[in-house]
Symmetry: D2
Subunit: 342 residues, 4 copies
């Protein structure tokens, strides 16, 4: 395969990001077609990035013999079905997270992918951020010895609209899912037990909608590593994403990301500008990197860097966190029969 011929399903915010990434001349891929329920959106993206074909119908892309791989950027409820259709049609698949919120639907999708023998990559873009990649490398290389304690800080600038909160699947699935993946990615081990302390400290409306907005989730890994995830739907100063790991030989930690490094000292304070406030700015590079990684896996015929299994684990962890919070006790992942099955 010389240039991967891609079809894009979904022309929303994230579809646009991926369309831009694959249009980079240094990426060995060429976008062939794009589809969206909102045809205007698809037309606009096609025009901007010179994508030759636009269609209303995802199946046209999934069945196009001139297309090697599809990027699934549509709404979450369509992911697992599209994965199945794409796999059956022999397409390699890049799918946005989460695969689904239902383990059986996830498993059906993963089975279909396995049988079809196609490649699947899940959109955990943060793995491709230079900071987090560096932390993982410190663990892999033994630079900090054997990990013992891990902390993830992951805070959004402001809560989403209540209408969104109601359909989001809840903070543990909508927001923490990225952090669950990050925890496994960094420690390179499986989580056995989860304890979620959470509450409504940001906005009582979120509570009325049945969700929490503030949480500390404790993870116990099989190796004995103890980790925490700090989640808040609101941080006055903006988006905040940091990690820290203590190992037997030392620690590694990453600070938040800023638009510039300027320090201003005045008669009142020593200050810098607010951090990069939007995940699209903060993770711009990682979005481009994950697509490059996916294309490279196809061109070189190597495994993808984020597998379907990697996409399944955080959903299971979300289920355990939810139950832990609801029942006020630590919950083992083994409690979920489906988990044991795999």
């Amino acid at each position: 395969m010389n240039k991967v011929r891609l079809g894009i399903i979904g022309a929303g915010r994230i579809g646009k990001v991926h369309a831009a990434s694959v249009s980079d001349p240094s990426v060995q891929a060429v976008p062939m077609a794009i589809t969206d329920l909102n045809r205007n959106a698809a037309e606009e993206v096609a025009a901007r990035f010179g994508i030759p074909r636009v269609t209303d119908d995802a199946s046209q892309i999934l069945n196009d013999p001139e297309i090697d791989a599809v990027l699934i950027c549509s709404s979450t409820d369509t992911h697992s079905d599209l994965i199945c259709q794409g796999a059956r049609a022999g397409k390699h698949i890049f799918c946005e997270k989460p695969i689904d919120y239902d383990l059986s639907r996830i498993d059906r999708a993963l089975d279909t992918v396995k049988k079809a023998g196609v490649k699947l990559q899940i959109g955990f873009n943060r793995r491709f951020d230079s900071n987090f990649a560096r932390v993982r490398k410190a663990v892999s290389s033994g630079e900090i010895g054997t990990p013992r304690l891990m902390h993830i800080i992951s805070r959004d600038p402001a809560p989403p609209p209540i209408a969104y909160v109601k359909v989001s699947g809840g903070m543990f699935f909508d927001m923490t899912i990225h952090d669950f993946d990050m925890a496994c990615f960094l420690i390179q081990d499986e989580v056995e037990e989860i304890y979620a302390a959470a509450g409504n400290l940001v906005d009582p409306e979120i509570g009325k909608a049945g969700d929490v907005d503030t949480a500390v989730i404790t993870l116990k890994f099989k190796s004995g590593v103890i980790g925490t995830i700090d989640n808040s739907r609101e941080a006055a100063y903006g988006y905040d994403q940091r990690v820290e790991i203590l190992g037997s030989k030392g620690s590694i930690s990453t600070g938040n990301c800023y638009p510039n490094q300027a320090i201003i000292s005045t008669g009142k304070e020593v200050r810098r500008d607010l951090p990069l406030n939007f995940f699209m700015d903060r993770y711009a590079e990682s979005f481009a990197n994950e697509l490059r990684s996916f294309v490279r896996a196809l061109v070189d015929n190597t495994p993808t860097e984020v597998t379907g299994y990697d996409g399944r684990v955080p959903v299971l962890m979300g289920m355990a966190a939810k139950r832990s919070y609801e029942e006020g006790r630590p919950v083992k992942l083994q409690e979920f029969a489906a988990a044991v099955a795999r």
Copy 2:
């Protein structure tokens, strides 16, 4: 009271620190006598700081009409009795932490102090560190709004000898007790429930001695604030003491403390020297400040900044943490009848 006349009970490491602090000419106090089971140690400190009287017998100090206040720096098992004796003799008391590991003994001491109408300050010196004091001020002043999440990192450079571990009362009482106090000091609220995830990741010998060496303790405050304490008996790079609070209007965090601010950039890395490695260096200023605060409370006849009640709470929290770890579940402080009683 113009100059507070002090007696020092205990001439060990911490007794020496306090003897130096009260010898500072800018402190309105004068050390009158010192005692230690090891008379040589007491003689040595007396000579160095010009303390006129040395005795083998603490009761000589406790009953000396020329002494206004005593600093109890002896071993933990003697604290509550000495507090009672001192209080009955009408002495104001500065006592090292912890008061005791037994709630009934603590309560007896606090009752005696109360009846005697003397002042009591417990040696939670970290409250007087400029970094932590600044964090508390940010909470008190509303600078970061209403607190929501709190994290304390508290790691020792290396574990104590196993012989010490066996008599230490366990990590939750010996080490976390400082962090329990810090949590209450910073958030200025009471803790309702504690969940302790812990294990032996540093040294299996510590486990054999019946203790843990690594822990993450989750705290739920009455106000809903969720906090964590990260404890490790070993950090390869040295002593590490940091805190972070997220509030409704922003966050405040403090970094670790270093002997200098020099940054060296070479062909291999950009680096700085290791942090202040010993708690006596790291907290030198706070030890001096706490004594100043105690003397000031006597001279000005104001309440002490760390009360007997402040000394009782962390012991209760340690009991909850221990039970939580042993039973693998969150534990409410109310489970301890004695706690409810006060």
Copy 3:
């Protein structure tokens, strides 16, 4: 003008960078043709970025009626002639720095541009770096009050080959020229007098080749601001680019740039990875931004952000620095008749 049709003269390192920048779908430009003395190099870049035409002859690009603007990325000795040819052919021009080392040739080029009424932008890409742009904004907005002192640190990781040193025009023209531009860009004032202290501390071979490798250049601006430029052909830890300005209301400073923000603490030191070591990495964003700015100036018909005059000033400053170093005295820019003439 909807999409600017561009011709690229020079397919070397910097030509490739600009070819990539203008291939970005979000830039309103389309590369039409490329030329290089080394036709293979031009072919390769054309293939990579889908540039339709390749030619051996720059004049074919300069005279192509379907081309609106040219990017001059060839060797310095060809710049002024190509500017003249392009201007006469009515092309807008983006030209790499420096325009030339000879004031009369620069002036001839600027006059030709002026008469032709075309736009000219000089490739001082660092102006488009987010850090330096932020510093300039602090000056422009009055955030730090009236500037008083300014420092620029500008160090290369390693000296160029001696063969290059011999034809480079000397460190003041080859390296400091960027810093001279930065000084004027940040302070937004003209320099009156220059004093250059310099020497050979890196490599005596550079001295034998008639050049210096280490310098501190003091600048006196008309407004009284005093500035320094620190230049070294070698910094063991890598590329280093920082600025600091002290004004009446405060200061602003920028640190060096790193590939990640991870801090590793071990038993030996607290360290981070080395800075971004290559100017192509360090300034990747600023190269893209300067091309965007040029294209925008053409599309919107506004003045370019870096004018021909901006390209002339640093050459004059280089002449003064050279004379100052050779004669061991401060040199006023007025000493150069040509300078006064404009």
Copy 4:
């Protein structure tokens, strides 16, 4: 000598600091007497630090056989005479900087000290700051290789009263003198040539009083190292003292000093508190350390760490800086006959 018996001449601000330092029980010294033209000031200090004798007359201290050493903390114009008197009386001498502004008077004092065979230490306290000491160590140990470039930033929070400016000897003598010493201390080499660019950017009244308030001073060392000193009589954000050295193997730099390490992130900015604003706070530790060093040199009979010659050099450098500024040219230290003489 077991405990050095000290007399203190001058009970002003700096006299008080030294009185406190020598009262520290861990210093092998005992203050015996204090004198000041203002007897009340001397009485007050004596009472506070338990100094037994107070006198109006410095010669009583200088001739007291029970006094081993004197601390000269009186006004600059009295320094050289007091040094001579003290030396003739066989006292070891600690003298505040500068020795004098007149080379011949300095030389007379140094000759007298030499003949008397007593020890002399000059009060360049900054050498004893942990940051600057660390930088010097990096040079001495070869950690950064051979030095090439050096920068000192030294800014005061606000200019002194005009009345003081008039008698201060000028900024180069009053303020830069510390930085001249620091430059020599860090690079451990002699300066050959000085170029001072300076002006009145802070307050025109300072100019009317015949002084400058803003300067960049370029130093050329014998070894070829090029250095700069950045001086400002005003920095809106407070006291600012930093250094940076680039050597063949790397660089070392120190940041400014702050009262705490807390970082506050709000919806407006990420900030920290202002730096330690007063030299007494910033250098508290270094003042104590220099007295310790002096006492140790007496007790151990070793050379003092800051010699009379070290006190002479910065005055000579001040003279060169002044002439350079007045004549607008680089000035070699050899221009001063007296300099050559030694």
